[in-house]
């Protein structure tokens, strides 16, 4: 074996390193280094030409000095000279120096590239590898330009050595990451994919990384890799522990390659070919079986390698989310790990179970481990393990266990590590809102949250509790009573004072009948906190006081006295002073009527309503929807208000925390926008879109680079299954013949079709609905394809298209009934004729009902008929465009939105979308070439609406400004709404 002695080969280097190590102080070290630098400089500048060995030694010393953290500003040329040496050791040091100290000095890059070029064509595998490693390590654009076309050739050439192929594959991967536009696989694709069959496992190991990366970008071109990967995996999994010799690691055959194969398969949906799929399922079963076998070695390396494969297999099973049997087995296996003595395994099991919790097939199985997980939260020593336990509790939470989980989280919060408190607080707040069965529980939970972890309760959380209390009159009295009690505590958190001040100011009258909480008692209680509070809170309290004067005339004198005192009306803070002065005058001069009008109860906050809630309200009239009715209603959205997008919404609010305006301005409604402003609306949809765009190719978690948001996102996809009845959910309503409310994701599905006319509108385990549509003038025709994905017949298959509300008079949709039977595996078609009578904002609803195995399926979608479908493109010159732009200058004619880019800002994609919109994309119109302008006329039966659009990307900020000007106000608004979701 090659035992290497200290610094062999370069004595001078070893001596220098020893010297440095012997330096007693930083100063001594710097002195020694400066001496060496001077020495090397003089050698490099000297008249005597240095031999290769000396050059290598000095360059290596410079490298060492650089790695110690000192700047090096010379020696680059000598390093480049070493590249053309024909001695390996000299070349290696030259390449190493370049790789570590590269700077894009163009002069040198040319020389370096030249040397690399020579080595690549040297046919010497050692030199070729050195050159390839240098490219892979530096990976600059210049190198990609020089070598991107050469390397695929080396990779697939028949006479290339295996080790060179390994390096070439990964070198190409690096260039592809740096400059995807320069790496054109085209003709090489198939030969690269077939590297999966290579005899040399090292070549397969390296090539698979390249193939995985390319597959993610071009799944269709590389899809033949699926069957190759499956057969390779199958050979490895079924081999005996010693078959693979060099590639067996502690009795585990090729663990890293197995993981990579399983990872590659996660770029694709389950194989369509039955034989391939069968083989893969067999592999996954074998892997699960092996986990139950006695270990072949007691060494941790053995179990780690085995479990690395197991966890990757479980990720694939979760990715497919279609094999209930495997999902449940995976869950059971992880359940065993939850109690394992190895902390690593407990941690990974908690983490992996978190994703299993979001599958409808394994959600229930995950829930059975609740006690173990709660115990982990209480007893694990490693905070990161406790954090995973909290994540898992959050993910497994549903209506059945919400109270238990929220209670456990709250009690954990009392002792939780500071690092995770804020996140825990948000999770508790979201769960409390999402699964609130009664609002008094919700109010209690949030107030507890403030009491226990007030510092970590962000503004969004207490804004939210206020919004909900304002909006629900059934909880207002309870909220007033509870905050009143909470404020009795001698030391209560400032956030509690804020909530208390706001709620008593609005609803203190509801508890004023009790002498223990008479108006004056309430006021004194609040005012006892006043002087310890910050300016914004004091401002809020002043507003509460003026509200008190309106609610309780008997407090007027006391409060006026407070307002009148010097510390208020001469307060140095302008905000406080202004409020004190204005409120004092208002209360002295205004008549009771004026006062009552000005200080009226706050209007309800606008909810981002879920479609189900809107529908229920419409049915029963405003205000008639009680909590219990909502609770009993279909579980589509699951949540009481806001539908399934509530979770991300709140998360997004937290994300936009920094930009939230000061509450002091907000609470009296001085600012027009509600505290949860437009920013969170677009941020909320950003999250939604990220997930919908993820598609089958990328697991959701990989898309979102913000772990925190990801964690918060998961539960929105819990078992609120699309198959409400089919999934045998015990607390869902009995099958009803009424059309179901639209799916919570109906709007997202609709949004996908704004800029395109064809595609898959909807898909679940049973049914796929495809769409093809065409439009001309104010007419459209839409073909709907209903595919039965099961092998069982659908009976009583009916579809109903309806135009709710105003839409009835705006859109005319005609269709014929479909055949009531859809055989297993069959597809039926339905044609819709659409006529646009006048402009519209809502979408027609498509309800589908059928029986599958006795259970009634009932789902409602929004048909992607949007106003832009009736666009006629209009070409016009720059002059005309701006003239019309100016003509459409009434404020209502313009709608504008500034929002964050949701989908990257690639020019070609943007153009394609704008064209898909139906307008003409006008070149050379906007003076700023970065901007896009479009023009079109919307054709309706009653009128034509001219529309101009301008989209201004700000690549640096990753933001857009979208402006629409249309001859009709409602069209501007609707288009703006629709389009803001598209970019």
């Amino acid at each position: 074996m090659p035992a290497v002695s200290k610094g062999d080969g370069m004595r001078g280097l070893a001596v220098f390193i020893s010297d440095i190590r012997n330096c007693k102080s930083k100063e001594a070290e710097i002195k020694r280094i400066n001496k060496e630098l001077a020495n090397i400089r003089s050698k490099f500048k000297g008249d005597k030409a240095l031999d290769g060995y000396s050059k290598k030694k000095y360059v290596c010393k410079l490298l060492f000095i650089f790695l110690l953290g000192h700047d090096i500003d010379f020696g680059h040329m000598e390093a480049v000279n070493l590249l053309s040496s024909n001695k390996y050791t000299e070349k290696q040091i030259g390449y190493l120096f370049i790789s570590v100290l590269v700077n894009s000095n163009s002069e040198l890059i040319r020389l370096i590239n030249n040397a690399i070029k020579n080595d690549l064509s040297s046919r010497n595998p050692t030199f070729m590898c050195l050159a390839l490693h240098c490219i892979a390590n530096v990976g600059s654009r210049e190198m990609a330009e020089a070598f991107a076309s050469e390397i695929p050739r080396i990779l697939v050439a028949g006479d290339t050595m295996d080790s060179v192929k390994q390096s070439a594959a990964l070198c190409l991967l690096r260039l592809y990451k740096t400059s995807p536009d320069l790496v054109l696989m085209g003709e090489w694709t198939s030969r690269v994919v077939h590297l999966l069959n290579d005899q040399h496992m090292g070549v397969v190991t390296a090539a698979i990384s390249l193939i995985t990366c390319l597959s993610q970008k071009n799944p269709d071109e590389f899809k033949t890799c699926v069957s190759l990967a499956v057969s390779r995996l199958s050979r490895i999994v079924s081999s005996a522990s010693t078959d693979l010799q060099d590639y067996t690691y502690y009795f585990v055959p090729a663990p890293w390659l197995s993981c990579k194969l399983l990872r590659l398969l996660q770029c694709y949906p389950p194989p369509e070919d039955g034989a391939v799929k069968g083989r893969l399922v067999e592999c996954l079963e074998t892997i699960l079986n092996k986990a139950q076998e006695p270990p072949k070695s007691k060494k941790v390396q053995h179990s780690n390698a085995k479990n690395a494969i197991l966890f990757e297999a479980i990720s694939l099973i979760i990715h497919y989310d279609s094999e209930p049997n495997l999902l449940v087995r995976a869950c059971n296996q992880l359940g065993q790990f939850l109690q394992h003595r190895e902390t690593n395994l407990r941690y990974l099991a908690l983490e992996s179970m978190c994703t299993l919790a979001s599958s409808e097939f394994s959600h229930e199985a995950v829930k059975t481990h609740i006690e173990t997980v709660i115990n982990a939260l209480k007893t694990e020593r490693d905070v990161s393990v406790r954090q995973r336990a909290a994540d898992l509790l959050y993910a497994m939470c549903d209506r059945s266990n919400a109270k238990q989980i929220v209670a456990e989280m709250l009690s954990y919060l009392e002792t939780a590590d500071y690092s995770i408190r804020e996140e825990m607080v948000l999770k508790v707040a979201i769960l409390a809102e999402k699964y609130a069965v009664d609002y008094s529980w919700y109010v209690d939970t949030i107030l507890n949250l403030i009491r226990i972890a007030g510092d970590y309760v962000s503004e969004e959380v207490w804004y939210r509790v206020i919004q909900i209390v304002i909006n629900r009159d059934d909880v207002q009295g309870y909220a007033a009573k509870t905050v009143f009690e909470a404020l009795q505590a001698p030391a209560c958190h400032e956030n509690m004072v804020k909530v208390g001040g706001y709620i008593l100011g609005e609803f203190g009258n509801l508890i004023a009948g009790d002498p223990r909480s008479s108006p004056l008692v309430q006021f004194n209680l609040l005012h006892s906190k006043f002087h310890l509070c910050s300016v914004p809170t004091r401002a809020l309290l002043l507003s509460a006081y003026i509200k008190f004067i309106n609610l309780f005339p008997e407090t007027k004198a006391t409060i006026q006295e407070v307002l009148r005192c010097d510390s208020q009306i001469r307060n140095s803070d302008v905000e406080l002073q202004q409020r004190a002065v204005e409120y004092l005058k208002l209360s002295s001069i205004a008549s009771t009527d004026v006062l009552a009008t000005v200080l009226e109860e706050m209007p309800p906050f606008p909810e981002r309503e879920s479609s189900i809630l809107a529908k229920l309200k419409k049915k029963k009239g405003p205000g008639a929807v009680s909590v219990t009715e909502l609770e009993d209603s279909k579980r589509e959205g699951g949540e009481l208000n806001g539908g399934s997008d509530r979770g991300p919404d709140t998360a997004a609010m937290a994300a936009s925390n920094a930009s939230t305006p000061s509450p002091s301005a907000d609470l009296l409604g001085i600012r027009s926008a509600p505290p949860v402003g437009a920013a969170s609306t677009s941020a909320g949809s950003l999250l939604v879109d990220v997930f919908s765009e993820a598609g089958p190719t990328i697991p959701p978690a990989a898309v979102n680079d913000d772990g925190f948001l990801r964690d918060l996102e998961q539960p929105t996809e819990t078992s609120d299954s699309l198959l409400v009845e089919g999934s045998g959910d015990s607390d869902s309503a009995p099958p009803s013949e009424d059309p179901a409310p639209p799916l919570s994701e109906a709007d997202e599905l609709l949004n996908k079709f704004v800029c395109k006319n064809n595609g898959v509108l909807f898909e679940n385990q049973l049914l796929q609905i495809g769409i093809k549509s065409e439009y001309r003038q104010n007419l459209g025709r839409m073909y709907l394809f209903y595919g039965n994905k099961t092998s069982v017949q659908f009976a009583n298959f009916t579809t109903t298209v309806s135009c709710p509300g105003d839409l009835q008079s705006q859109l005319n949709v005609q269709t014929k009934p479909v055949e009531p039977l859809v055989e297993g595996g069959a597809q039926i078609q339905q044609v819709l004729n659409i006529e646009c009578l006048t402009d519209f904002s809502d979408a027609p609803l498509l309800n589908i009902k059928f029986r599958y195995g006795g259970a009634l399926q009932n789902l409602t979608l929004k048909l992607p008929v949007t106003i832009n479908k009736f666009f006629q493109p209009t070409e016009m010159s720059s002059h005309d465009f701006f003239q019309r732009w100016k003509q459409l200058s009434q404020p209502q004619q313009e709608a504008q939105k500034i929002f964050k880019a949701n989908h990257g800002m690639d020019t070609e994609v943007l153009k394609a979308k704008l064209l898909g919109l139906g307008t003409a994309l006008l070149d050379n119109v906007d003076p700023n070439p970065e901007n896009y302008v479009c023009a079109g006329v919307i054709q309706t039966k009653s009128q034509q609406v001219g529309c101009l659009l301008r989209l201004e990307p700000n690549a640096q900020a990753q933001m857009y400004r979208l402006t629409l000007r249309c001859s009709k106000d409602s069209v501007s608004r609707r288009l703006c709404e629709l389009l803001a979701q598209q970019f």
Binding site: K6, G202, Q216, E312, T343, V385, D705
Partner: protein, 144 residues
Amino acid sequence: SLWIRFILIQNRAGKTRLAKWYMQFDDDEKQKLIEEVHAVVTVRDAKHTNFVEFRNFKIIYRRYAGLYFCICVDVTDNNLAYLEGIHNFVEVLNEYFHNVCELDLVFNFYKVYTVVDEMFLAGEIRETSQTKVLKQLLMLQSLE
């Protein structure tokens, strides 16, 4: 796609024995990362996991005597595969340097880079067979 962002070998005192970067960072950023990794890793003990969240990534690490071997990867990547990837690498170093110790890495720093490049390239695993890697290193050792 998932790949290794960097590999660090540090001793308890925070001295870097190897830093291999697979992502562009400027020198200041590298120094900051090195310090942060040292801070999060050295406070952990044997009862803790070998994984720690780190910015938007995670560090998979293992301690051998006074040295911490750390690999920074995407949060969704396979923890145990990298944990054993580290061990595989350490076993190769141990063979190559014949009972490797910290000083071997100091005096032969330029050879350690060669070992790394044989086993990891472009942030991916290049070769996992210890036999193959050692055979190659032996061959390179024999070259002038």
